[in-house]
């Protein structure tokens, strides 16, 4: 049981010192389920591998518990890791795969047997203990990899996209099992994924990364409702948040009431958001408005603020349907409606955004305005 402290961690590769992890600073609490999420190549794996000791640290410090582990080899860090391609030892049976770490620790034979059996029972792989990895399916292999990690009873679990080789259905199932595992084991988990749904469903806290830089560290709810910038806003959530370019104007000069203006429509800005925008001196300046598809309704659900958009395409997602409307912006506006909703191509649809949920970002840097 231990927390992890990562202090100003850097990783640079090659002669030209290309920085792939940039000033990574993070306190991971004991027993926390932390998820690193970000697009491909943003440095998630590299960070995880530095924590594991598989990659040298260019600069900065990593503490596991109170111990500085920068110069400790992986085997002395008391961690377990699950890899994307399972990395099972092909020459050993499932039993031997799981027992490998225990044998290296010179545990008595009966203890090894007990631990392996117990882990196999938890993961429901008891019938396969005598098989070789090549005789297992992908999901079974991943369970064995998990088993290999849990028998060691480490201080920290590290997982690098453990589910990305599984099919969609199995992925959902394994997701739940890993969450259960975390609950029963009560150990610190660090989980790497590029799948924001995995991050949202599993994490206690999410670390969103881009180009080696942390964009935001927060609970899934906070990251979703108040993203730090447009990158986080669009990366988390599916379908993506709507980002609309526009300008802040005063309703009646001197009244203090602000409106969001595009070439086609005007939207009122609630008091609180208006205060923040004034604080940042954005009146008569360009900003980006962000609003999620579920915060836009069809006419009649909310009060004023009506946008008219021409219907282009729709996506049916079971209970919901997402309409893509042309509202005169570069990108189509996505609106969530009832699955039974029907309309014709290019039909004009009147929609009402819930402006209390609207987010305002700097038009250039993409940073969200807050006080």
């Amino acid at each position: 049981m231990a927390g992890i402290r990562i202090e100003h961690l850097y990783k640079r590769y090659g002669k030209d010192k290309q920085t792939v992890v940039n000033d990574f600073h993070l306190d991971i609490k004991d027993k926390e389920f932390l998820v690193f999420v970000g697009p491909s190549g943003c440095g998630k794996s590299t960070t995880l591998r530095m924590i594991a000791g598989l990659e040298d640290i260019s600069e900065g410090e990593i503490y596991i518990g109170d111990q500085l582990v920068n110069d400790l080899p992986p085997k002395d860090r008391d961690i377990a890791m699950v890899f994307q391609n399972y990395a099972l030892y092909p020459n050993m049976t499932v039993f031997e795969n799981i027992a490998f770490g225990l044998r290296l620790r010179k545990l008595p034979r009966h203890e090894i047997e007990q631990s392996v059996k117990r882990a196999a029972r938890v993961l429901e792989i008891e019938p396969y203990l005598n098989r070789k990895p090549k005789e297992l399916s992908g999901g079974q292999r991943q369970r064995v990899a998990l088993g290999r990690a849990i028998v060691r009873d480490p201080q920290v679990f590290l997982m690098d996209e453990p589910l990305s080789n599984l099919d969609a259905k199995l992925r959902v199932q394994m997701r739940m099992e890993i969450i259960k595992l975390h609950k029963t084991l009560e150990t610190t988990f660090i989980y790497v994924t590029h799948d924001q749904i995995e991050a949202m469903t599993m994490a206690d806290r999410i670390v969103v990364m881009k180009d080696g830089v942390i964009q935001q560290i927060d609970t899934p709810e906070t990251v979703y409702t108040t993203p730090n910038n447009t990158f986080v806003a669009s990366f988390i959530g599916s379908p993506q948040i709507n980002l609309i370019e526009g300008k802040i104007v005063e309703d009646i000069p001197g009244s203090g009431k602000l409106q969001f203006q595009t070439s086609r429509f005007l939207l009122p800005i609630p008091q609180e958001a208006a205060r923040v925008l004034v604080h940042h001196n954005k009146v008569n300046k360009r900003v980006t408005l962000g609003i999620r598809p579920e915060n836009i309704g069809l006419e009649g659900l909310f009060s004023d603020a009506i946008i008219t958009g021409a219907y282009k395409v729709s996506e049916l997602m079971g209970a919901d349907r997402f309409l893509h409307l042309d509202i005169g912006q570069d990108k189509l506006l996505v609106v969530r409606v009832n699955a039974y909703y029907h309309c014709e191509e290019n039909e004009n649809i009147r929609i009402v955004p819930d402006m209390s949920k609207a987010l305002f970002f700097d038009a250039d840097s993409g940073v969200r305005f807050k006080i």
Binding site: A52, G53, L54, P73, P74, K75, I79, A80, M81, F83, Q84, N85, A87, L88, Y89, P90, N91, F100, G101, L104, R105, K132, P133, K134, E135, R148, R152
Partner: protein, 295 residues
């Protein structure tokens, strides 16, 4: 009925599933393997030919009246020599055994760091090893002699072994194979608590078994047929190898009728262990990465 006896029916059904190109390829392969088989069949037949058959013209491929005459001749020749044949045999078996173990060991120990540990000069080291593949054996005879004599291991088993120990082709084969092992496999073992030696013994070697088996075959052939170390570095007759002994038997035979029979049996005896080693190890050679469940 005849078809069934020859197993042609089974083959026929397999053939039907092939397209024209595959059929042609299969045919070519069959012709090739028959061609490759000829010398082996010849060696076996030749060894059992009585003298009058050894010298018939045109030479006959198959033996007509098999006899053990040649065997007896070889035995009588060897019983006349001061060192018993069994001693030469022991030397060869002993050296070849050591060679198989140590050549595979050294090659793997060399290939593993070159393949999986990024140290400065790894590429240079590997290129140098590859370069030595191109040296003709004659080129390195004198340097070898100097090394062996300066080490003071002339006339010892170590003098047999050392010159054979560095086998560039073995390093090359193993390096190519180890390259294919995913890094994650070794990293998993390291995290599980294995040190580098353990990773090597418990993961790399078992996973590389096909390549190891190939290198073992090469090492065996290399050492079993080796006469160079015996003629250059061994002073006493009882330290020399079986291959060397047989070559002395057959060397003075050019244009000589006597002892041709013994020579024929000798080549058979030289050949059979190669065949046995190959048959034992070939099952392992054929297993490939695809079958090992890594990917």
């Amino acid at each position: 009925m005849v078809q069934r006896l020859l197993g042609l029916r089974w083959k026929g059904s397999r053939l039907q599933a092939m397209d024209g190109f595959q059929k042609l390829l299969t045919l070519l392969m069959i012709v090739m393997s028959v061609f490759m088989l000829l010398p082996i069949v010849y060696i076996f037949n030749h060894a059992f030919k009585p003298y009058h058959e050894l010298f018939v013209y045109p030479p006959a491929f198959f033996v007509r009246e098999p006899s053990f005459q040649n065997m007896n001749e070889l035995l009588s020749v060897t019983s006349r020599s001061t060192v018993p044949m069994i001693r030469y045999l022991f030397n060869s078996v002993f050296i070849s055994g050591l060679a198989v173990v140590f050549v595979t060991g050294v090659s793997a120990l060399c290939a593993f760091p070159i393949s999986k540990h990024k140290f400065p000069g790894a590429k240079l080291a590997f290129s140098t090893i590859l370069l030595t593949l191109m040296f003709a054996p004659e080129v390195i005879q004198i340097p070898r002699y100097l090394v062996v004599s300066n080490l003071g291991i002339m006339n010892s088993y170590f003098g047999h072994l050392l010159p054979m120990l560095a086998m560039p082709i073995g390093v090359f084969l193993l390096k190519q194979f180890i390259d294919q092992i995913p890094d994650a496999l070794l990293e998993a073992a390291r995290i599980d608590g294995a040190n580098e030696f353990f990773v090597f013994i418990r993961i790399v070697i078992p996973v590389c078994m096909p390549a190891i088996a190939t290198v073992a075959i090469l090492a065996f052939q290399n050492s079993w047929g080796n006469v160079e170390t015996s003629s250059l570095f061994m002073l006493d007759d009882e330290m020399k190898s079986f291959a060397f002994f047989l070559s002395t038997l057959t060397n003075n035979l050019a244009g000589n009728v006597a002892m041709q029979g013994a020579a024929a049996v000798a080549s058979l005896i030289m050949f059979v262990p190669n065949l046995i080693v190959f048959i034992i190890l070939q099952g392992k050679v054929i297993a490939t990465m695809a079958h090992s469940g890594i990917k």
